[in-house]
Amino acid sequence: MSRTLKALIFFAALVAAWALVARARIWSPVLLPSPWSVALYLLGAVRDGTLLEAGLVTLKRLAIGYAAGLSIGLPLGLLTARVRLLQDTLGLLALGLQALPSVCWVPLALLWFGQTEAAMFFVVVMGTVWSVIIATESGIRNVPPIYARAARTMGSRGLHTWVHVMLPAALPFIVGGMKQGWAFAWRSLMAAEIYVTILSGFGLGHLLHYGRELNAMDQVIGIMLVLLAIGLIADKVLFAPWERLLRRRWGTDSK
């Protein structure tokens, strides 16, 4: 409870400092709007529905692309850990592509798919899939061999060993990879939305882009705050419960 309070005080202090600087008029309000005018913009955007609509468009793209990235990446990661040939081929490719900034996929996606939802989907999947493959593979590789040996002596074989020993043992790595995949997916989607206009739906990235076009700094900062909040909430809702579970079971609390 007191930790939440401390976080609240910290953010309140940040906003207060911002308000003071804006009030001092060191920079033009066109460049540094006050927290109040940003709040007014957000309120207006909520009222006329643009924010909600754009948020839904973006989150839908993110959810579908991320889910697809996971369902491709997890099995491929398992196979890569298991099959030497895949490790030497796909593993290497994944390692290289994981390091590629995912915005680099955007030009290719545009040429292949045009200004369509498919291009967005492709960019998000490419952002997710490689880091999930890498994390799953190294998770499986880092499972102490004694677990599998112990399981074998108790009669566990094949699929049972994978489902009941290897996967749970690799879970800390896999969750880490899922989290990283999520961050990459989120970044690549924002890059794509800022970069390309797609008529089938205006996402948060587009709002940000038009904020710049219109020189509307309150919009730019307002949308950035929304993106920040989405990132935080996703972390707390999607990953924090897993991480709590892992800490409780593995006892790897950093405190």
Binding site: I146, R149, A150, T153, M154, G155, S156, R248, T252
Partner: protein, 270 residues
């Protein structure tokens, strides 16, 4: 009924090792880990394998467990050849090898779930029975990281005993524990062994430990790994590791160990 069957079974060998050999290819000098090792272990017998590090005693245990294959020779468990791990031979490792994602009871249940013919209630009943046997019934819901080293090995013991194997294979299970905890576990293991009447093969490099636990202590030498000598320990149980009679046996075995190996010591090289 069971008593009669067990008595009869005592006439037979539980484990038969026939001229078991094993080599490990390692560069220009392949390691001759085991050289035609033959050994008979009787029903409910407690046998300790002692020797310097690298004498192949752990390899032998893995071969009996079915985790490794012998290059030559064969292992018979109750007359049938061993080719793979089986529930009749459970293993306890030096590290507890417990699963951190399961609580203590589920760790013990792991092997039971793989054993056919048990209902859910029966499995749970058996798991709780063995947790009581090792004195950890209060920790059934704890996770592995919440236990001390000694408690982990108790859970590992309960997990190995739960599927009711005929043979228990123990690979230096107490080596990583402090002396006090170890002595406590010697007492527990002797008590449990007498209650459950298992055949135990126990690998250690600690001569005193071997003399304290074993009916018979088998002395190995290394390079190549061979059986050098056997000692029958004729002391009543439960045995106290600090007793003078036991020290006498330990001294005798240590002396034999020294005379066999150039650099073989009771503790083995660091």
């Amino acid at each position: 009924m069971t008593a009669a069957i067990e008595h009869q079974a005592e006439l037979h060998s539980k484990l038969s090792l026939r001229a078991v050999s094993k080599h490990f290819p390692s560069g220009a000098h392949p390691v001759h880990a085991l050289d035609r090792v033959s050994l008979e272990v009787g029903e409910s017998e407690f046998v300790c394998l002692v020797g310097p590090s690298g004498c192949g005693k752990s390899t032998l245990l893995n071969i009996i467990a079915g985790l490794e294959r012998a290059d030559e020779g064969e292992v018979l468990s109750d007359g049938s050849p061993v080719n793979s791990p089986g529930r009749d031979r459970m293993v306890m490792f030096q590290e507890s090898a417990l699963f951190p994602w399961l609580d203590v009871r589920r760790n013990v249940l792991f092997g039971l779930r793989l054993k056919p013919g048990l209902t859910r209630d029966e499995r749970r009943h058996v798991a709780d029975f063995y947790l009581r046997l090792v004195g950890l019934e209060k920790f059934a819901r704890s996770y592995v990281h919440e236990l001390s080293g000694g408690m982990k090995q108790r859970v590992a013991l309960a997990r190995a005993l739960a599927p009711n194997p005929r043979v228990l294979l123990m690979d230096e299970p107490f080596a990583a524990l402090d002396a006090l905890t170890r002595e406590q576990l010697y007492g527990d293991l002797q008590r449990i062994w007498q209650q459950r009447k298992k055949t135990i093969v126990f690998v250690t490099h600690n001569v005193r430990e071997a003399a304290c636990l074993g009916d018979r202590v088998i002395l190995f030498s290394r390079n190549p790994g061979r059986i050098r000598e056997q000692f029958q320990i004729n002391l009543p149980r439960p045995r106290d590791i600090n007793s003078i009679e036991l020290a006498r046996y330990a001294t005798e075995i240590t002396a034999a160990l020294r005379s066999h190996g150039r650099d073989a010591t009771a503790e083995g090289p660091a």
